[in-house]
């Protein structure tokens, strides 16, 4: 595997989306090529930073409760307001 191919597969490697064979070749190239290895380290950081810094919030309790009532006929207005029918 050359550098170009390795760079292209870098995102897939991060996301565990390589086939077993691709992964083997990918890791082999990283072991031999400091530039690609450094780039992979940076790429991993980029993924990590997104996971770490993007804040997750909880859905408001009132929303959760109203969703839980779906189908119980206690929420007729909401069901009536379903205007968008294309999936």
């Amino acid at each position: 595997m050359n550098c170009n191919k390795t760079r292209v597969l870098m995102s897939c490697a991060l996301d565990c989306e390589l086939s077993a064979r691709e992964e083997e070749e990918f890791l082999k190239h990283l072991a031999e090529c400091p530039e690609c290895a450094a780039e992979f380290t940076e790429a991993k950081k980029t993924k990590m930073i997104i996971r770490e810094k993007i804040v997750r919030v909880k859905a408001p309790q009132s929303l959760v409760e109203s969703i839980l009532r779906l189908g119980t006929h206690t929420n007729p207005q909401a069901e009536g307001s379903l205007l968008f029918d294309q999936l």
Binding site: R51, E52, V55, T72, F84, D85, L87
Partner: protein, 223 residues
Amino acid sequence: MVQGNIPGKELKPVMDTNEFSEKKKPRTGRNTLSREELKKQQEFQQEAVTHINSLYNYALHLTMNPDDAENLVQETYLKAYKFFNSFERGTNCKAWLFKILKNNYINRFRKNSREPGKVDYDLIKDFYHSIKDVRSDTSEAESDYFHSLMHEEVYQALQSLPEEFREVIQLCDIEGFTYEEIANMVESPIGTVRSRLYRGRKLLRAQLETYARKYGFNTDSEE
């Protein structure tokens, strides 16, 4: 809909079997469900409602507005419930819900309000201000420039990407969908998802590095 006149079926009040019923008022015959409907409701709660936090976050990222996000999630679940019978059991329900939400968003919001690719930084600041209390820092032992970046900065960097890149990064890194699921959601081949992730992450990194330089970090990576 089902209001109690189905011959041969014994209708039960919701309270008997619904685990989420403790909040409900005592009910009369009007509020009874057929067994079928009850089963659907319970399955829906197990399969679909468990993803509500993810959907809400996704909606927030799309709309940048808590009220709009709430409406969007509400509509998504209404529609999902209505079409729940056509949901293919055994496939990823979260991916299915995300796709519905995305379509709702396109139909309802994007046409009118926010222009694609345009970022309202004040809105982001307000947004982060309003949710500041719930942020949780996972502290990594390692100290490098990434860890000095503010949440807002990372968020802005992400928001500054063209939508096609931002979207796949969100779905992959934040929501953890597989490439196949993402390809299905964005209606593009897996190869396209791959290359968007690759290019999007490159752009994102360049953005993050400009923020990092502000803190005096040398980002020309030597480790």
